[in-house]
Every structure is written in structure tokens, then in C-alpha cells.
Symmetry: D2
Subunit: 399 residues, 4 copies
């Protein structure tokens, strides 16, 4: 915790949650790495119950909705703690994509939708997914999309092909991005967000995509989905017609902060593991790995880059809290590629420091090395964010 960003509430919460993560959650990692996700669920459910009883449930949601009402800057710092293990966010019911769907529906879904779909989601009784990316189109240009929701009386009939719909396996519903207004002048005003229950006829979860060697299951998976004339009531739309991108934009700022702080948690843990292993591992009698200057370089560089990342992200969170997302536009682009790059380098150093052990699944490092490679890709690849940021900067130098 950085005093610059501390609040009384946070100062109070931080150490207890730190202890909880360290003592209760991290010890589950070995099972997480070796068992199917489903077999872990009973233990996870018990821990979720504990979290609820401690009053730590869904921290970024308003207290009135069963959350903790934390500011983005406050939650960000807890998010780092949760990020120290792959199970953290799930236990606090603030895992992607559910938390994003909750924030979205709280602001923009009708009362009826909230009652039917949001309530059980907040309670942790159901899960949801967010269905936007399509295999045939580059994610870097989100307006290119072939999925359509065609109005038919009081229904939408949805047809399309999506993939990387995270956690669709076992979800109660998907929030689907589909073209409702193909003739709108702006490509940003053509799509809408629509709730599609996963038991809707025509909802075909083709497979859990095998990603870096794992198809996963349940929450821990990414699905390919075909929507074949899925019929849902028009009232299942979230927000106004044609405003899908506007809403997507809105969830983006906080989502970026959540991801980045989670990555910082991962990196911090990886650095910690690197230090511990460097001390423990002997090269010769009495000469630990920690004595090697290359390892020392990696530790120092990782320390610098993690600290820089944390300050950048918390500074951005504060700016969003105080001035709103739009004012923090450049910072939001910046942290996406900077922190993802940092994570990549720190994990690489941690794996390399561990030698053969680093590539086994006996530690959590190889899991992160595989699955967090995606950090430089999802939510827009680094290259897109760099160009967006640069063009925005250049604009200020043009007449």
C-alpha cells in the first residue's frame, strides 16, 4: 500500500485481506494447478462464504447493492492483493467478466432485467459472460462485426459467431454485442448489448477453446459460440439501441484498472518467488543463486518496473475517480501496454530464474507465463494502444 493513495478504510482492510490471501487462498494453488476446476468448487464456495461474512463481497459495487462501495483507487489496491493468486478475484466475486457485467447492468439495465439477471449474479449464485470478439474480425477494430440482432416484433433474432467468450461454460446468460442499426452513419452507433440466456434455443457453445494447452471448464474457460437465430425479447437490451459501443467504452476504464492491478499483483508475487528461490537455490556450497549479478539485475529491474506500473495505474485510477474516464483517456491507454509489457518481462525473468522448475506446473509461474501472455493481446493489443495514444498526443501539436 502506498501512503500517497491510502485512505482510512483501505488502511484498515488491507492487512486482513493480505493475510486471507496468503493463508487461505495461496495454499489452494497446488490443487488449482493439478485438478479440473470443478473439483475445486466446493472449497472455493466455502471461502466465498467466508468473504461474504467478513463483509468483503464485491468490493467495487455500492454498499446498497451488497458491495463495499470502494472508490476505484481503493479497490485497485485490493485488486493487487487478489491478483497475487489466480483464485483471488473469484473469491471476492469481482472476477472478470462478471464484475464488468454487474457495473454495466447496475447503471443501464431495466429494473426487470436487474431483478431477473443481476441480483443472482451479485449474490454469486450465477455467473455471466460477455460475448463480443468474433474470430473473423481483428479485435483491434471492434466496429467490424458480423453478428446481427434483427428486430422481429417484440423480439430480437440474433445470429452470429463469437469466440473468447470467457466463462460462458456454466454461465446463466451472455451479454451479446450485436448489430441492431446497420445503417447508422457512425460505425460506433450500430451495435447494441443484449442479454441472451444460455439456454435460449440456438445458443450453441461449440467448444471451450484450447488456450495454451488447456480447454479448461466452467469459470475457467473461453468459449466459441454460435448464435443461430436466438430469439430474446427486445426488453433484454441493455441501454438504448445503437449505444453498445458507448456502454462498452464505459466499462473499459475501470476494467483496465482492475486488469492492470491484477497483473501487478502477479508480478509482485513472481518477484517474491524469484527472490525466495534465489536465496534457497545453491549453485555451489554456500553460494546461492542470489549472489549472481544477472539475478540481481533482474530483481532490481523488476522492482523498478513494478513500482512504476503501480504508480501509473493508481494515478490513473485517482484521475478517473476525480475527473472521470474521459480526462484519463491517455493514461488508460498508457497503462494497458506498459503494465502488460512489464508483466511479460517479470514473468519471463521469474521463470528463467527458477530453471527447469520454472517451466513445470509445480509452481504457479508456468500457469501465468502461459495464460497471461494474453495480457498483451486482449482488450486491444499493445500495438493498437500505442498508436491510439501517439495519435492523441500528436493531435495536440497540430494546428
Amino acid at each position: 500500500m502506498i501512503s500517497l493513495f491510502a485512505t482510512d478504510r483501505l488502511t484498515h482492510l488491507y492487512p486482513s485481506i493480505q493475510v486471507f490471501i496468503t493463508e487461505q487462498v495461496i495454499p489452494l494453488e497446488r490443487e488449482f494447478l493439478s485438478l479440473p476446476f470443478g473439483e475445486l468448487l466446493p472449497k472455493l464456495d466455502a471461502l466465498r462464504e467466508q468473504v461474504k461474512q467478513k463483509g468483503w463481497w464485491a468490493p467495487p459495487l455500492p454498499e446498497s447493492e451488497g458491495g463495499m462501495g470502494l472508490s476505484l483507487t481503493e479497490f485497485a489496491q485490493l485488486s493487487e492483493l487478489m491478483g497475487r493468486t489466480p483464485l483471488g478475484h473469484y473469491l471476492f466475486n469481482c472476477q472478470a467478466p462478471d464484475i464488468g457485467n454487474m457495473e454495466l447492468m447496475l447503471s443501464h439495465a431495466s429494473e426487470a432485467l436487474q431483478e431477473q439477471f443481476l441480483e443472482p449474479l451479485i449474490q454469486g449464485e450465477t455467473r455471466s459472460c460477455f460475448s463480443m470478439t468474433e474470430p473473423e474480425f481483428a479485435g483491434s477494430n471492434p466496429t467490424r462485426m458480423a453478428t446481427t440482432a434483427i428486430r422481429d416484433g417484440d423480439d430480437y433474432v440474433i445470429s452470429g459467431h463469437k469466440w473468447f467468450t470467457t466463462a460462458a461454460d456454466g454461465a446463466q446468460f451472455a451479454v451479446v454485442m450485436a448489430i441492431t442499426n446497420p445503417d447508422a452513419t457512425s460505425p460506433y452507433e450500430r451495435a447494441s448489448m443484449i442479454v441472451v440466456p444460455t439456454d435460449t434455443p440456438g445458443f450453441d457453445r461449440v467448444r471451450n477453446i484450447s488456450v495454451m494447452g488447456e480447454s479448461g471448464e466452467g469459470y475457467h474457460s473461453h468459449a466459441e459460440i454460435k448464435y443461430e437465430k436466438c430469439r430474446v425479447p427486445v426488453s433484454y437490451r441493455i441501454g438504448p439501441e445503437g449505444k453498445g459501443f458507448m456502454l462498452a467504452q464505459e466499462r473499459l476504464g475501470p476494467g483496465r484498472i482492475h486488469h492492470c492491478m491484477r497483473w501487478i499483483g502477479i508480478a509482485e508475487r513472481a518477484l517474491e518467488m524469484m527472490c525466495q528461490y534465489a536465496i534457497r537455490r545453491e549453485l555451489k556450497d554456500g553460494r546461492p543463486l542470489a549472489n549472481m549479478q544477472t539475478i540481481q539485475n533482474w530483481i532490481a529491474e523488476s522492482r523498478a518496473e513494478i513500482d512504476a506500473s503501480r504508480l501509473l495505474v493508481l494515478h490513473t485510477a485517482r484521475k478517473i475517480d476525480e475527473e472521470g474516464q474521459k480526462a484519463a483517456r491517455q493514461q488508460i491507454s498508457t497503462i494497458k501496454f506498459y503494465v502488460a509489457g512489464m508483466l511479460d518481462r517479470v514473468l519471463d525473468r521469474a521463470v528463467q530464474s527458477h530453471g527447469a522448475l520454472g517451466i513445470t506446473d509445480d509452481t504457479v509461474l508456468a500457469y501465468w507465463y502461459r495464460h497471461e501472455r494474453a495480457a498483451r493481446i486482449y482488450d486491444g493489443p499493445d500495438e493498437v494502444h500505442k498508436s491510439v495514444l501517439a495519435r492523441d498526443i500528436l493531435k495536440s501539436y497540430q494546428e
Copy 2:
């Protein structure tokens, strides 16, 4: 093929093997990526038969032994072709660690050992493994080892704990490195290499280690093994007692060349996939990914680094062929870290270029990204090779 390193024989062979790899082997990759290895075996066996009939079997072995009698420089260039797919070397019966064991036993095993163990291995009727690395000791210092082979009459009694014994699952025998002469003055003269059949009582394959998300099976696995008082005849020793490291050293030069050329094959294929995808993938109508300067930078840098790697490795192979391994000592260290680093960068660019597709198992890239991370670690991590090379260079400036 580079004219500088071409021979008549190679010029003749190269295009046919290239066609075989492209048309017969690469199409099996999808199954390789989605099925257990065992299910693929019947198809692989059929292809191996084809390879044998074409006279391409075990190319680096002498013709008298059923191989092709290629020079290291010649074989290296075929090894690149085979490396273009994870199945290549296996089909030509020149996969690690078997080919290394064959070369070793051809030069140093007794006639009886050759007859009993080497013959079927060369025929491709059995597989073998090489058991050296121990979990408790840093691989960077191979002389630190706790496995012992204690003389008891005409037997050795072997006890110890090994891991990363590649392909032990299903192997007929292991070549085990064990301390036989603990009191030898030089730490390099304490160990011997001993053949241990895997059905020897006390040979306990604890598990196939889960590496980057996969435990694998059969040839495609890395085992943890406990040797609990395994008793084998003294005549199962390969070479003189205490000369294990000397023999290990001998297999190292050619082994390094094989690995490096395989990595170059992987990198070349990854670059090819990156180019093809960049042309195919549209960002907007008529604007393919290939137009982006960042992708162009990656293609150009990859081209340069792959070409540099190939020249370095072939130049080293030629030097070994002409002047012997010792004369090429510095070059052998150099290519290990340079080519492993190149592979890492090229694979990373290829994955990133493919976006979300790059991290799925729908292409072979994610497989390589995961499994070839080991390239910078096994056979000595980069950091060790750099220090060894630098100290050797510095020596020439000291009086």
C-alpha cells in the same frame, strides 16, 4: 539450403524431404495438438515406415549402422526441415534423446550392450531416455549430483532421484548418470553412465511432470524418477568408470547443433505463418495486417536473426566436422544462447501477430511458445553459457 554449405548429396535430398514434411507431416499437427500422443502413434508408425523405405532413416548414423552417414553440416540442414513441425525428428528416428544415446553407444558401449539395447533402438523398435538432471541441484553445475551407483560384486546398485528424464514413459532403458567414484580428485571424474532397463526392480517413474500445462505421455513427456536400489550388471556401464562427464561432453557438440537447427526450423515456420496471416488478416476493408509497419519490423528483424542464427550454427557444424569439437568450443557456447534467444523473440512476435488466435491451440504457435520456453534453460541456461564464453574470451587477454 545455403549454397555455401551445400553438398551434392544434400542438394539431392533436400527438396524431397521438404515436400515430405510439408505434405505428409504438417497436416498431422492438428491431431497432434488435440489428441493424446498415443492415439497418433499408428499414423506416425506408418510414416516412419515410409521414411525407412525412402532410405532416410536415422540420417546422422553411419550407413553401416542403418543410417545415412551424413556429415554434421549436412544433417544440420535436414534437421531444420524436420524442426518445422514438432513431429519431424521422431519420424526420422533422430529425435532427442534417442539419437544422442545411439551415437554414444555406437562409440562407447560394449558389443553385448549394443546388441541388446542399441540394435532395437536404431531399428526404431524401442525408445530410450537419458537420466541426468536432479531436482535438488542446479543444472548449471552438472557435477553436483546425489545419485550413486555402488559396486556390489558384479553389479551396480543405483539409488537417486532424477527429473526431466525426457521420454522415460514407455522407454526400454535409461542411460543413467551416477556417481561411481566419489573420491576422484576432479569432480569431472566421479560419475559413470550406466544402462538401466526400465523394468529393473526399484526403477520408479514417479510421474510424468506437468510442464507448461501438459503431463504428456509416451515419447512426449518428461519423467520424475526414483532409483531405489536398482541393481544392474557392471557390464551395463558405457565407457570406462568415472568417465561419464567426458562422454556427456562428447555428445554435447552434435546435440547442440541438432537442437539449434531444430529451433531454426521452428522459427522459420513461425515467420512463414506470421507472413501468411499478416496478408490474410484484414484490419479494414482492403487493409491487411501486412501493411502495418510494426508487423513489417517484426518480419524484417526475424528474417535477420534467423539468417544470422543459421549461418552461426552451420559455420559451427562445419568447424566441428573439420577441426573437431574442442576447436569449436566457443562457437558451441555462442549458438546455444544466441539461437535460443532468437527463437524466443520470433515466437513471441508470431504469437502477438496472430492476436487471440495466437494463444489458442488452433495453430502450433502456442505449443511452441509453451514448450520451447525451455530452450533457454535446458543444456545449461543462457546465463551459464554467456559466462563460460566470456571467461574463455577473457582468458586470451590475460598473461
Copy 3:
């Protein structure tokens, strides 16, 4: 200016000083780059007079001593503004090494020394230098030193060989680090700091060292100096005998902040020049350099790294202000190598973006490219800081 680190005073000062730097100082750069430093002095003197009259003189010094009494965090932010041009700090009389000598003497010099040497220095009537580094010893280990100050009655007789004594040419006095207590147990308690007027017999300024193609002159130079039995009164010592390193340590924290913020000013200006040039420079009709993705990457990466650097340094300054230097030890090491590395990369990109123009002295970029290469070396090379930081971090993981 970052709102997180703003104060009323700073908010008031910042824009005026920004305007002053932009309108009055930067236009002098062309002359600075093409004329001997001495010829610029009259113009610089006039500007210094202006600075004094505006009440901006020597900002980090207490108001009682003729400064502005700014906190380190406040001054840091002005230091960035001054750093935007090589002339900035000199005009505000807070240039190294003078400002360091002032802070040192204010705290530790006798009243007599202060009156005789410090007063005119604060007034800007004289200049000073700091004479520590010796050519025969690695700067990374400051305790290795051959210069001695031997007590002879009420005098010290100083003999030794120093170099990189910045700004010695034209200085009134040097603060010399010399061994006074060779037999002290701790190598950190052997040296003292002693004022040596440059007209002392035996003070031999051998040369202004040619650095990156320039010997320079006056303030703008680095001298090699031989001290040949220089005799000065014992009362010229600053602080207690044997406490030279302790005092050096004390000036280090704020000095590090000054340097780092100056580098950030340089980098910010270089990025600005890169953006302006990218917009101005046409590759083809209507297609400016700014359209190239590589330039965009450089702009975005520079933006991220500069912002990260600024937050790291200001956070460190705040920590020093609030908790003292010792508590900020790790941060002080971190910023030294992180910010120096950032500067190096940003300048390199700015030069490359400018093409042939970038290597000419028609812009200030080549000047910085040459002279700020030293940033990764002076005050301890990156490599030393990384090891120091890493060992300090590792300590916390050891029992």
C-alpha cells in the same frame, strides 16, 4: 505538474517559470551550441539578474539564505522545467555541483567558512567544484581513493590526483574528498571534505578533459586536477574529521532527485521535438513522418516511460520530505538507473526520428545524446545501483 504533488506555492510559480524557460532561455540554445561558453556569459548574467529580481533564486535553499525554501517535492517539479534546456539550472543558481556544495556547507561548514566561501556562492558571484573521483579507481567503490590530507600543525597538506571535477575551470574553490584517517576501521570513516581554494599553490588544473568531443570551458567543463602538496588550514574542513562519506551520503538523496528531474525535463523536451518534427517532416506529399507506426510506437513508449519516471521520482521526493533519506533508500537507488535508462532510450528515439538533422548540432538533441550518456555512469553506474538495490531487497527474504 501533477495534481497529486501540487502545492499552492507551486501552482502559482509553475506557469511563470515555464513561460520564462520557453521564451527567454530556450532561444539561447543555438548560441550555446555554437559559441564558447564564455561568450554567452553576459547574456546569462542578465537573465540571472532577472531570475533574482523575480524572487526565483536558488529555489531549494531556505528563504533565510536567499533561496525560496521549497520542499524537495516542489523544487523537483521546477527542476524538470529548468531541465528542458541545458542552461536552465545555471540561471536559477541551482546547478550542480554548486547547489550541492551550498546545501552541504549550510549544514556543516563553520561560520567562518560560510562567510568566506558560501556567501558569494549563494549570491552567484563565485562558482565551486566537488573533487572526489580519481582516475585510478573505479567510481563504483568510492572508498578506494589515494588522495591524502596529512595533518601538519594547523594545516592539511593535500596530495592526490582527481578527475571529472566538474566546473573546476573558473571556480573559486574545490570541496576535496581526501583520506585524513587512513587507519580508521571502517573504510567509510577515513575521508574528510576540505575546502581548497583554486589559487592554493600546488592546485594544478591539468586540463579540461575532452568529453564526447568537447573540452568546454568555465562552468561547462570537467577538469583533471593534481593536488601537489596543497596546504590549507585545518579549519577549512567541512564537518568532523573522517566524516566525508557520511556528508557525501547526505547530499546524495536530494542530488539524485535534482538529476532525475532534470533528465525528465530533457526527455519531455526531446519527446516534444520528436512530435513536432514528425508532424512537420513530409515523407511524401501529404504523408508526414507522424503517420508511421514506428514513430507512433516511440512516442507512446516514451510517453509511458517519462510518466512512469516522473511518478517514481516525485514519489521518492515526497518520501524523503516526509520520512527522510534513509527510509527512501531503495527508491533513491531505483530512480537512478530507471530514469537514466529512460533518458537514454528517449534521446535515442528522438535522434533517430530526426534523421540526419538529429546528429547535427542544429538542434540540442545531439548535445544531450553526447553529454547525457554520462547519466548512466556518474553517481554510480546503473550496474552498481541495481546490485545495491537487489541485495537490499534480498536481505528482507533472508532469515
Copy 4:
């Protein structure tokens, strides 16, 4: 010398030239670094005389023209030796741009032009320059050019503005690239090369451009030139009208090899200096810099990258010798950016290893650090070569 690229002739020459460079030329560097170039000329003239007498003059020129008739591959290897010091090529009369002008005029200038201008150039009695780059246009797009040569009877009247006309100061003539055929369809067929004696009225050498702190003089300078209605006979044109770019293209391949091998010579020398210094410099008693792992990493990485560069360049030279420049197009682009990047990194490591000494002009490192920064810019910046290469590669994947 690499046996792969050795010839009898080269094997004979190499050691003597190596000794000459080491014993006669390198010792002049201190004077070169501290004196105006002109003051060195008498010593250089004496050495040139020696080179002539040994039969080493202008090695890439045919024997019939007073050269040695070496193949490109042979000369390349000597070029590395000469490159070990900034004075090397000049002493063998194969310095840029003179050697390029010689090769150009040998193939394409009329007999009269050869007699008048080429003969004394080959003899080393005069110097020349090549005037192509214009300050107003990006060098990356050479067809954009405002200098015109307007036909007026039997004369051309040349008007334009050039810069980075290397060695114009003291040259007898310039080869000027000017638009003669503005209406040609292809932008590559608009310019011609024309000899303009520097005493032609209207030839105005505005200044020797200050580059990285030095304006230089004589051979050792880069001029800005205004051509104000310079009148020369049409017969001073080299090659056909409108074929300037075709001719420029022709000099490019060998020119690239010369530069790259010179850079390799520099890098090899820098690595040597780094090793020697690392052994000599003590950090503590008995603990030299050479013991530090970071330095060892730099030595190993430099060794690998230099060796890779040499093989890439010699392989390209061989390809040009055997198959012509066009066949080696991709290789020529590759070596430009790869070798320039390698040089940059090796020099940076060498400077950093030398600490404060590295940035002084007491060694040749700082000179190279400053002046070879241009390597990544001239003859097309890295970024252009990468795009050119990538687009050429991509073409082979398109239908």
C-alpha cells in the same frame, strides 16, 4: 579471417595488414582525437606512401587501374581490419565517398572525365565528394529532390541545396545528383549524376556542419552546399541522362558491404578494449571488473552479435560476387540494419564498461559512440530498410 571465406591471396595479405594497422595506424589515434585533421596530414601522407609501396593501394580497384583487384568478399575482410581505427580506410585510399566515386566513374564516366578527374583521385592526389542528400527532404525517399540541372546549350546549370556532402571541404570535385528530366514518368528516371568541380562559380560550401559536437575539416567533415547556377559542360555527366538513380543503386551493394565490414572492425576493436579494460580495472584488491557477470554477459552477447554480423555480411558479399547485386537484394537490406544495430549495442556496452573513461576522448570509444550513431541513419534509416525487406518478403506470400 574465417576459413570459409579465405582465399590464398587473402591468407597471404591478412596478417601483414593486421600488423600494419596495429603497429603503425592505431598509435596515431591519440593525435587524431586531439588535433585538427589537417595537422595529422603529413603523417598520414607518409603512411599512404608506405601502403602504395607495399602494393596495398585501393584494394577493390582492378589491378589495371592501380588497385589490387580483390573480390568483394576478399576486400570485405580487409575492410574489417581497416575499420579497427578511424584512419584505416583513408590510408589505403578506399575511404568513402572516394572509393564509391572511383568505382562509379570507372564503369560509367567518359574517358575524358576519367583522365581529368578519376586518375588523380585514384592516385590519391585529389579527393572528391558525393552530393545527394537535401535538408528539405527525407533521405528515406531519395526521389524527392529539388536540385535541378537545367540544360542550356552544351552546359548544365545546376541549382540546389545539399547537405551531408561528406568530405567536400578540400575536395576537387563533387558528383552531384540533380533532376535533369523532371517529366519522366518514373520518379527513378528523373535525376542524373554530374561532376561539378568545387571551384565552379556558384559552388558555395556554406559550412562544415557541426555533427555531434564537431565541425571537422578537410576529409573529416560533412558540408552544407548551395549550388547557385553552377555551370558545367554536359560532358561532365556520368552515364546516360536520367539514369542517376540506376547508377546510385549500383554503388549501393558494395558500399553497404564496405560500411558493414568497417562497423564490424569497430565493434571488434571495442570488444577487445572492453576485455582488456575489464581485466585491468580493479574494483577491489584482486577483484577485476572482468569478474562481474554483467560484463561477462556483455562480452558474450557482443561476441555472438559480431560473429553473426560478419557471417551475414561475408555471405552477402559472396552472393554479390557470384550472383550479382540483384540476387542479394534482401541480404543487402538485412545487413544494413542488423549490423548498424549491433554496432550501436556493442559501442554502448564498451562505453559503459569503461565508466567515466568511456565518455572521455582519451580512448577512441567516445569518438565512435558519437560519429557512428549515424550508422543507423545514413544510406537509409533502419526503419526504411526493415519495411523494404519485409514488403519484399511478404510479396512472396501473395498470389
